[in-house]
């Protein structure tokens, strides 16, 4: 029995099962069963990861294998990077489920006794969607899982129906991501009209036949890229993430921080290398520059906002935007080494950001009422997480950041290294500032109504949640050993001809160049990383020494930033329209 579809089907069946048994099961069992399904998904994805090492696995649903070059059915095309994404998604969702308190002693919280079952069923559909998003080889199937991820996340984001800010954030999240989905769908329609196919490999081969991009495929490429960048929440599409991160329930924010943003950048890489790489051909400098500039701008803007805003989780939302920007720079290098660095960075940085959310919840939820031991543990998580964000070499973020910097310089963008270092310094300093504000009276209270909903860590369960946070940091450190795997996976990922040959057969024999040496931390890279860490600690200390006049820092700059980020849905959609028009214009002008 081939297990390829099971990592997606199992969580879906689990969601249906939990809804069916919802009012019968005691609450503690609901969380247990959900965790069981999540761990099953992680195990199956790990098996796929192992098997795909030797060769990309192609699985045709319904037995509809392509007949003379026309793909009739849907295919799962499992390569190491996709399977790795599925494993990461499973681990992050497992951490999220572990933090949903099973004993929902919610005070004025939900008056609906079976809300617990609904929350866990939605977490399972969200996991199934992310796994399918990573494994699929079909463009419209990618859109269906994109939409399933979106709807599951909207429903969870609006859980705090008693909080005005949460409802506003959920509306902004839903409408902005829906417009993103429409852009993706229009892109798919245009590509379908030109290539007559929905399978990624077949579209890529059909476009490669014409040899160059014409105006239809250029606009389709721009719409698909922007649609997925909206999901990745890079600047200027980041407004929804900053709000949702500060008001959504803890499990959803852990998933958002850990893997959901990264999948947007993964999708941009997937469609570029499977569909557009050969026909872009010599014009790839335009694509490279566009992606790297968007990434760099997001990295610096996100980090600056993280320093300026109030509210612990709102600042962590800005850090998420900033580090997705760094990830996009890695992918934007359009090279195997850049992609390998981005893969390691995605795993390491995703785990760290998830740990930071756990740290803030452990240290802050409940304000002054939090016990001293619990506060110290939470602040400890934040401090260590801040070090990891700055790229401390013990963590995979150090390796990933260094490789991305080298890849960018190699690709001819030497100015990227200082920009990434600046972003890492500012975002780490912001995290240290948050930790500092939580460590001493008046204890900054994380004003999230988490404590009320059936999904928050009650006081007695913070030990488990703290263990989850430390586990995530350990995962980030463990990812350091993935250098060789990431290089191998990246080389396979960028091999467009090999991908098409594997899925559809025929076509030019895959020319397998010698595998480049596996990425590792160069001495220069390590030096830069340590420098970043020191600068971040120094900046945080400087900020706090002058913390006395914290109110004085209400400069006009902060007022402008607050004005631009006031959660208005109209603003968010306007930025989306402007961003789409800009990217489409750049591509249209240069890619012909």
């Amino acid at each position: 029995m081939n297990i390829v579809p099971l990592p997606v089907v199992l969580p879906l069946a689990g969601a249906a099962l939990i809804l069916f048994l919802n009012t019968v099961l005691p609450r503690r069992w609901v969380q247990g069963i959900t965790l069981l399904f999540v761990l099953a998904e992680v195990a199956l994805s790990a098996v796929l990861l192992h098997r795909s090492g030797s060769g990309t696995i192609v699985y045709w649903f319904g037995g509809w294998t392509p007949s003379h070059g026309v793909a009739l059915g849907i295919s799962f095309t499992v390569d190491p990077l996709g399977a790795g994404g599925a494993v990461l998604a499973g681990l992050i969702v497992a951490a999220a489920v572990a933090t949903t308190g099973s004993t929902a002693r919610s005070t004025a919280g939900s008056t609906m006794e079976n809300a617990q079952g609904f929350v866990h069923a939605l977490l399972l559909t969200l996991l199934a969607a992310m796994t399918g998003f990573c494994l699929t080889g079909d463009l419209f199937n990618l859109f269906v899982f994109f939409e399933l991820m979106a709807v599951s996340a909207f429903a969870l984001a609006a859980l705090h129906t008693t909080s005005r800010a949460a409802l506003r954030a959920a509306l902004n999240f839903a409408i902005t991501n829906s417009v993103g989905a429409f852009l993706v769908l229009i892109g798919i329609a245009l590509l379908y009209s030109r290539s007559g196919a929905l399978n990624l490999a077949q579209i890529g081969r059909a476009l490669a036949a014409t040899g160059h991009l014409d105006r239809l495929t250029i606009i389709a490429f721009a719409l698909l890229t922007v649609g997925f960048l909206i999901k990745a929440a890079v600047v200027p599409f980041h407004l929804w993430l900053v709000d949702t991160a500060s008001t959504a329930p803890v499990p959803l924010v852990i998933i958002l921080a850990g893997v959901l943003d990264t999948l947007g950048v993964y999708a941009v890489a997937r469609i570029y290398w499977t569909v557009f790489a050969t026909s872009v051909g010599s014009h790839d400098t335009v694509v490279r520059t566009t992606l790297i500039v968007i990434g760099a701008v997001s990295a610096v803007t996100g980090a600056t906002l993280a320093l300026m805003f109030e509210g612990a989780r709102r600042r962590l939302g800005c850090v998420m935007v900033s580090h997705t920007g760094i990830l996009l720079v890695g992918v934007g290098c359009l090279s195997a080494s850049g992609l390998a660095g981005a893969a390691v960075y995605a795993i390491g940085d995703g785990a760290v950001k998830a740990a930071l959310i756990v740290g803030v919840t452990v240290a802050g939820a409940g304000g002054p009422a939090v016990s001293r031991a619990r506060r110290r543990c939470g602040v400890g998580l934040l401090a260590v997480g801040g070090l990891a964000l700055a790229g401390f070499p013990l963590f995979a973020t150090g390796l990933g950041k260094a490789v991305i910097e080298d890849a960018a310089s190699a690709a001819g963008y030497p100015w990227v290294t200082p920009v990434i270092v600046l972003a890492a310094v500012l975002s780490a300093a912001a995290v240290f500032d948050v930790a500092w504000s939580m460590a001493r009276p008046p204890f900054a209270d994380v004003q999230t109504p988490d404590v009320q909903i059936p999904g928050s860590a009650g006081p007695s369960r913070w030990h488990i949640v703290f263990a989850v946070g430390s586990g995530l940091l350990a995962l980030s450190a463990a990812a350091n050993v993935l250098g060789r795997w990431a290089t191998h996976a990246a080389v396979r990922f960028v091999d467009t001809a090999g991908y098409q040959q594997r899925v559809l057969g025929g076509g030019p024999a895959a020319v397998l160049g010698k595998a480049p040496a596996s990425i590792q931390l160069s001495v220069g890279g390590a030096a830069i990383d340590l420098l970043t860490v020191l600068a971040a600690v120094g900046l945080a200390a400087a900020l706090n020494r002058s913390g006395a006049d914290r109110a004085a820092r209400q400069s006009t700059l902060r007022a402008v930033a607050a004005r631009l980020h006031d959660g208005s849905i109209g603003d968010s959609v306007t930025w989306v329209t402007a961003g789409t028009a800009a990217v489409a214009l750049v591509f249209a002008a240069n890619l012909r």
Partner: protein, 118 residues
């Protein structure tokens, strides 16, 4: 004249977005979003149309008969379901927003300076 369907799709897309951006009522904003969604149906089905082709239903029609493309119709069906469900979710959120804030105007919903994310 052959460009009219695509022009209508682009027009619906931009008009719908204009409605979303300048709306002063959440329900109006949500229904405008469904107009943006309608543009994707029109574009998809216009791409799959073939002059002189019948519907891809061969009950009582010989299989060889010239027919339009069934794939875009399957995609549009999925799109209709997704559109209906997202609209239902947004309406539910809008009802709760009114219950919480007493107003439906997105401009009132904006974050006031210094407002905590309670």
């Amino acid at each position: 004249m052959n460009f009219l369907p695509y022009l209508v799709a682009i027009w619906l897309f931009v008009v719908g977005l204009y409605g979303v951006v300048t709306s002063r009522n959440l329900f109006h904003q949500i229904i405008s979003l469904s107009v943006v969604q309608a543009s994707t149906y029109v574009l998809l089905l216009a791409i799959g149309y073939r002059t002189g082709g019948t519907a891809p239903v061969f009950a009582g029609i010989p299989v060889g008969r010239l027919a339009v493309d069934p794939v875009v119709q399957a995609l549009s069906l999925t799109d209709v379901v997704v559109g209906a469900t997202v609209t239902a979710l947004l309406l539910a959120i809008a009802v709760q927003v009114h219950k919480r804030t007493g107003s439906l105007d997105p401009e009132d919903l904006r974050r006031r300076l210094g407002e905590r994310d309670e």
